[in-house]
């Protein structure tokens, strides 16, 4: 089978939701500028790109009607490049990369660009409706609760205190600040230009580098009031009767930030890269997606990590760096607990708690981030994964070439 390689990975800086710099930039522009960056950085003849796959979790309004093909046209790509949008919730962009790699592996495509876009300040979460939380035949019969309640359920079930999750959040802020200070993201971050072509944002603006345990400790639970008002805690406990009461530990400070952003990864075969004069940076070693129990919902990374490792014929210890999306602190803490992973190799440069989580774009962002870090620290193998709504999980193992 043909091997699939990563040739380049770019992302926007992440703009915060409230008074954020990217609020004035359309979702289409975010995607378009990333496609243009991939083309321009690699002097790529876009006629060689067979397909563009973009993740997007709220594909309505300006993000609707196949934003991938829309961005292909808008970016001035060859008209022969196709495009489609996918939705695997938070792992959409990583799933896009896996799909792109699969297209290359099976010989359908030579080059694919995979990534995602989510302008969360412009197209709010939930705008696309969906039966999951609204139709009683799913929400009632299958004990579906919002993710925040699932995250608190994980903390309760696996014994993470408020101090544990806050300490993790503080570390995320510290690592992100250090990474920015040392310029560790400079290879991947492509500043976003405004309507005049001037830079409107060149850094992740959701970060709060001064965060300490005291400021985190002062924040109120993000999910307790609503949960107890409508009985979501009871719904979760009816599925997990071993739990007496939910310990509501998550706040705005130890959960991922709501931000705007886009990402793109150039994936291709060895042959295609040689023809285009490009040097591969990493190889796809294995890929997997799974479903798991949907009430606790966010422990999918544990299950999918096992599956991806098994497919690669690897063990936990064979992975040099782990990158797990910081949707909520308890998700990462549970993952490290399950596999006894050294915190020093998990999310080395911080994550979504500090920098934000533009839902449909994050998966390709963390893949790029961990590849940069492999190169910087001269390591070989990395596993990127995300927890996913509905109890799913998606993972990718890459190794440098």
């Amino acid at each position: 089978m043909t091997e699939a390689y990563i040739y380049d990975a770019v992302r926007t800086p992440r703009g915060k939701k409230k008074n954020g710099s990217l609020h004035e930039i359309t979702a289409l522009q975010l995607a378009t500028q990333q496609l243009q960056a991939v083309r321009d950085r690699n002097a790529l003849d876009t006629a060689l790109v067979d397909d563009v796959i973009l993740g997007c979790v709220t594909p309505v309004g300006e993000q609707g009607a196949d934003i991938a093909r829309t961005a292909v046209i808008d970016a001035g790509y060859a008209q022969t490049t196709a495009g489609f949008q996918i939705n695997r919730f938070c792992a959409s962009a990583l799933e896009a990369c896996n799909l792109g790699a699969a297209k290359v592996m099976c010989g359908e495509a030579d080059f694919v660009i995979a990534g995602g876009v989510e302008a969360m300040s412009r197209v709010p979460m939930g705008m696309d409706g969906g039966a999951m939380g609204i139709d009683p035949s799913i929400s009632f019969d299958h004990n579906i609760v919002p993710q925040g309640v699932s995250a608190d359920l994980i903390a309760t079930k696996y014994g993470f205190s408020r101090d544990d999750v806050d300490a993790y959040a503080m570390e995320s802020q510290k690592r992100a600040a250090k990474a920015w200070k040392e310029g560790r993201f400079k290879n991947s971050v492509v500043p976003v230009k405004d309507q005049l072509g001037l830079t409107i944002l060149d850094h992740d603006e959701h970060m709060r580098p001064g965060t300490d345990m005291q400021s985190l400790g002062g924040l109120n639970s993000a999910f307790q009031a609503l949960s107890e008002f409508v009985g979501l805690d009871s719904v979760a406990i009816q599925r997990y009767p071993e739990i007496e009461a939910i310990n509501f530990v998550h706040t705005g400070g130890n959960s991922s930030g709501i931000v705007d952003g886009a990402s793109a990864v150039l994936i291709g075969s060895k042959e295609a890269g040689e023809k285009a004069g490009l040097k591969p940076r990493a190889r796809f070693r294995s890929m997997a997606s799974i479903g798991s129990e949907p009430t606790i919902m966010l422990t999918g990374p544990v299950t999918v990590t096992k599956k991806a490792l098994a497919k690669a014929g690897m063990e936990v210890g064979d992975i040099d760096l782990y990158e797990l999306n910081e949707a909520f602190a308890s998700v990462v803490l549970r993952h490290m607990q399950a596999f006894d992973i050294n915190p020093a190799i998990m999310n080395v440069n911080g994550g979504a708690i500090a920098m934000g989580h533009p839902l449909g774009a994050t998966g390709a962002m963390i893949l790029g981030t961990v590849l940069d870090e492999l190169e910087r620290s001269d390591k070989q193998t990395a596993l990127a994964t995300l927890c996913v709504g509905g109890g799913m999980g998606t993972a990718t193992i890459i190794e440098r070439v």
Binding site: G126, G129, G133, I134, D135, P136, S137, S139, F140, D141, N143, V145, F229, V230, G231, L232, S234, V235, Q238
Partner: protein
């Protein structure tokens, strides 16, 4: 017609009076539905009739709901069929009420309900199929509601479709899921009825409305109808639907299919027009009526309880006992409580303890509880004094002599 009379006045307004013979309350049965179709046809076809007012000839109730005891024979027939045939047969049977009510509200002439007394379940649902509802404001026993879920049933006469289209999903859920029974004033405030007037003016008010509204149409049959508060995928309506499922699961632990199916009736029905919505409701009703939970609840909580309340187990010739006075031995926590609830129920209580101060302390509990009621304006002082006077604290066991019952609470 056996159950209804129809009298047309000089203005051409037909007064239709529901007054089933030989029963204390009007209820909906197959026979009654047949007659509703009969007079609806008459109202629709007779050019001399300009509109109609429906009322009840009984002070006890406008209509107390469906005749649940009549379901027995339907299920007897259904039991002989295969599962699929049974569902189809029951659906056809249960859809008859929709055919009748839908015909009524689309008969082309204004129809008003003059609700003189209690209207529950199917009794309220028939008024929801009228274009105008006015209720008597001066009948303290008049209650309106859809209490079906309390006996394991869902409102199967269009209630799950018409009520949310009238007052919004949130308020409709509130009434249906807990089977709340509300006063005319409250119903007026919620928009369930259009007016509340003294009983003596009821018919006049309803007739005046019919006269003034010859083109009456249900809101949900109007061209640009919008669901108050929004449907399941309206930004505001979505909040209601996201919240209601966990709320019901919290309270029912998933053990009450009636509440569960009401959620689906409203969720699915509000995305469709009224006719499709009624088909959805009827499917869930048919499904629900085949669930053991519902059958058992109808039997235990409704039919058997009614029979018990009427003394169904009383041996023939056994005279009715009456408790006028009790003696409670021991004025501690339990004795004081027994004394309190007994005095509240109008029973004389001798509260006995080993020393007088202990007996007095037991009585003081009732004084305290009554004081709270007076303070909250739930009771006036005179009534509280009367209740308190029924309790006699004593150390004298001889008071047991003329007690109808002695309760040992030591």
């Amino acid at each position: 017609m056996k159950h209804f009379t129809l009298k047309t006045d000089k203005d051409g307004i037909a007064l239709i009076t529901f007054n089933s013979p030989d029963v204390s309350m009007n209820v909906l049965s197959g026979e009654v539905l047949g007659e509703i179709l009969e007079w609806t046809d008459e109202v629709a076809a007779n050019d001399a009739i300009k509109g109609a007012v429906i009322t009840s000839g009984k002070d006890s109730a406008f209509c107390a709901g469906a005749d649940l005891s009549g379901l027995g024979s339907i299920f007897g027939e259904a039991a002989k069929l295969s599962a699929d045939e049974r569902s189809a047969m029951l659906y056809t049977e249960f859809f008859k009420i929709h055919t009748a009510f839908r015909k009524l509200e689309t008969c082309g002439k204004p129809v008003a309900a003059a609700i003189n007394a209690l209207a529950l379940g199917g009794g309220l649902e028939i008024t929801l199929a009228c274009h105008y509802r006015v209720a008597a404001s001066d009948n303290p026993k008049l209650k309106l509601g859809l209490p079906e879920a309390m006996v394991g049933v869902l409102p199967g006469g269009g209630g799950t479709q018409r009520l949310p289209r009238l007052i919004g999903a949130m308020n409709a859920f509130d009434l249906m899921l807990q089977g709340k029974q509300i006063t005319a004033d409250k119903a007026l405030a919620l928009g369930v009825i259009h007016a509340a007037v003294p009983g003596a003016e009821l018919i006049e008010n309803a007739k005046a409305w019919v006269k003034a509204n010859p083109e009456a149409k249900q809101p949900w049959d109007a061209d640009k109808f919008k669901i108050p508060g929004g449907g399941p995928y309206h930004p505001a309506g979505a909040q209601t639907f996201m919240g209601v499922s966990p709320m019901v699961r919290k309270n029912t632990y998933g053990n009450y299919p009636a509440q569960r199916y009401i959620l689906s009736c409203v969720y699915e029905g509000l995305q469709l027009d009224i006719d499709a919505g009624l088909r959805i409701e009827c499917r869930y009703f048919t499904k629900l009526m085949q669930r053991p939970e519902s059958r058992n609840m109808i039997r235990s909580i409704f039919l058997s309880k009614q029979a018990l309340d009427k003394g169904g187990r009383r041996p023939a010739g056994q005279s009715k006992g009456e408790i006028k006075k009790i003696a409670v031995i021991g004025a501690g926590f339990m004795g004081a409580g027994v004394a309190y609830v007994s005095a509240m129920a109008g029973i004389e209580v001798a509260l006995v303890d080993v020393d007088q101060s202990a007996a007095e302390k037991g009585k003081a509990f009732t004084e305290g509880e009554l004081g709270k009621r007076v303070q909250r304006k739930k009771m006036d002082q005179a009534k509280a004094d009367g209740i308190l006077a029924r309790i006699t604290p004593t150390t004298d066991y001889s008071v047991m002599k003329d007690a109808d019952m002695v309760i040992e609470a030591v």
